[in-house]
Point group: C2
Chain length 339, copies 2
């Protein structure tokens, strides 16, 4: 319970010491006798006094806040990453403040400034794609940061991700091994260049390695939303026939399954659909969704640990790639007739 | 872009004025000549100086922050409420900081204290059920607050919700009008007493009004998660046969549909399943989910508007109940043979 009407004066009066003695105890700044210290601590307890953290922030330059800036809390992928971040932050005595940006640059910069102003001790930052404005901001800021799924050659900021090249390679190899020849891909346009390039390259090279041709008509952009997956899948299937479709995120894949079903395709008999992320809904969808599991909890936890390490002045790795895994469910099937 | 190395001294020097003049301009505290003011503003622009908001908070007692404390960002229901809150907050020049509590009392109190410490101007607060610790906290706090789905007779804090009694009455009447006799309900245990009491009472009275008997074996508690909906539905259906099932939230209803399907029931032919909330996933599930639509965006927007009104010293209503509506989809069906 907090009683914000009680001031440091009340504590000093009850403890029978000066205000500066109370201040020394609170800020652990200068030596105070054990006896006086105990009287102050007792008085703080009895009055329910809480030192004004905002004023303390000015003195101590430590807020015990870690900010977490994410594009979309409505996407369970980010919510799962937040969970890991929260647990580690709390374990180390930090409180996590969430900032939801919808990936809009203005909001991102506003939240970055707010975190700097409120003297957050650290920051976990996610966005679709790093822009020059982000890079400029981080170049000038002194806040300890870790990126998730973002990589910048210009900044000395560590990042956590998965090996996107290998993950997409596995997904395409899996679909090919199931007998699929015409494999489409709907991928998010607004993600980190390196990730994007890796995912597209993995797709093309996996096809090539199996003697399949690359057809740009079955590869298209698609945002991280059910609606986008639904609309883009209808467009793609109206234009070309594919026997398998990979979407680089699960929410879009759920929209894709709905679209395919509405168009008269049976999933997986007529078309295999595969997602990426493995959000909790995917196991419960009908049919349940085959997906690449990203270790979302660990990604949030490791990124936050790296922020805390930096705050403590410890060295951290420049890049940590965590293990993914392919989770096979009902939305994909082996085409025995097709091989 | 922010350059936190630039201080008020640099601005004063460039503008050729004293530090206190710069401070007066920034805080709009005492009159400054137009000419000096312009020089200061130009210098701020040229140096990229940003006044330390934390220090300003001490002077102005205004942070332009509204805190939003919610139980579970992984539930799209809350994410949708946040969206409305964000839009209104931004429209009025406030920044929304999100705090995710998992409904744990310790975390809730920690975030409440943090918001008070950081001198948030206002607060939108959600939790399952108000506890005496919450009430004690709010009795002592001076932060402008609006509750969503929470009602306290002891506190003079406004709340936004829907009319839960009428919403459940409509849902049960709808299922009865479809020819269902044995109607189960899985309801969340940990919600506000008033809401809970209203929902249960509505269920019982709707059955009674149609001459149906209340059977406590087909009413059970179920948390706000897919997993809980899945497990509790299996328990209920293993124990008793029902021809319709209402769950008081959509994520649980999605788990229920999966459970029923796995047990060999066809949804809706063998059992009608109905949710409550109308999250975005519900329209895309197969079968798509009949649900009570809660105006989530509006709930967040109106609650935030009420916080901002209070900050401005305006009078606000004690309680606002927003309109819900029944959205009929594929998971429920008329039992023509059964009437």
């Amino acid at each position: 319970m907090i009683n914000i009407k009680i001031t440091i004066k009340d504590v000093a009066k009850r403890a029978g010491v000066s205000i500066s003695t109370v201040s020394r105890v609170i800020n652990d700044s200068k030596p105070v006798s054990d006896e006086a210290k105990q009287r102050v601590l007792d008085a703080i307890k009895e009055t329910g006094y809480r030192p004004n953290q905002l004023a303390r922030g000015l003195v101590l330059r430590k807020s015990n806040i870690i900010g977490m800036i994410i594009p979309d809390i409505a996407n369970p992928y980010y919510a799962a990453i937040v969970e890991g971040a929260e647990e580690i932050a709390n374990m180390y005595g930090y409180t996590l403040l969430l900032c939801n940006t919808h990936g809009e640059l203005d909001k991102e910069i506003e939240y970055l400034n707010l975190m700097a102003d409120k003297q957050a001790d650290g920051l976990v930052f996610m966005t679709g794609k790093l822009k020059s404005e982000h890079v400029d901001w981080f170049k000038n800021a002194e806040i300890k940061t870790c990126f998730i799924n973002l990589y910048s050659r210009e900044l000395d900021i560590p990042m956590v991700s998965i090996d996107n090249y290998n993950a997409v390679t596995e997904a395409i190899n899996y679909l090919i091994s199931n007998g699929h020849v015409k494999i489409g891909m709907l991928y998010a346009p607004d993600v980190d260049d390196l990730l994007q390039e890796e995912r597209l390259r993995a797709y093309k090279e996996a096809l090539k390695n199996h003697g399949h041709e690359f057809d740009e008509d079955v590869v298209s952009e698609c945002r991280f939303s059910i609606e986008s997956g639904y609309v883009k899948t209808k467009e793609l299937l109206n234009n070309k026939k594919v026997d398998a479709l990979l979407l680089t995120n699960d929410v879009a894949a759920i929209g894709a399954m709905k679209a395919a079903t509405e168009m008269g395709y049976r999933v997986p008999e007529d078309i295999s659909i595969m997602g990426f992320d493995d959000i909790s809904f995917s196991a419960y969808y009908q049919p349940s969704l085959t997906s690449i599991n990203q270790p979302t909890y660990d990604m949030g936890a490791v990124a936050t640990r790296m922020v805390i390490k930096q705050i403590a002045g410890e060295q951290v790795e420049k890049m940590i790639l965590l293990p993914h895994k392919l989770v096979e469910r009902e939305s994909t099937v082996k085409m025995s007739n097709n091989i």
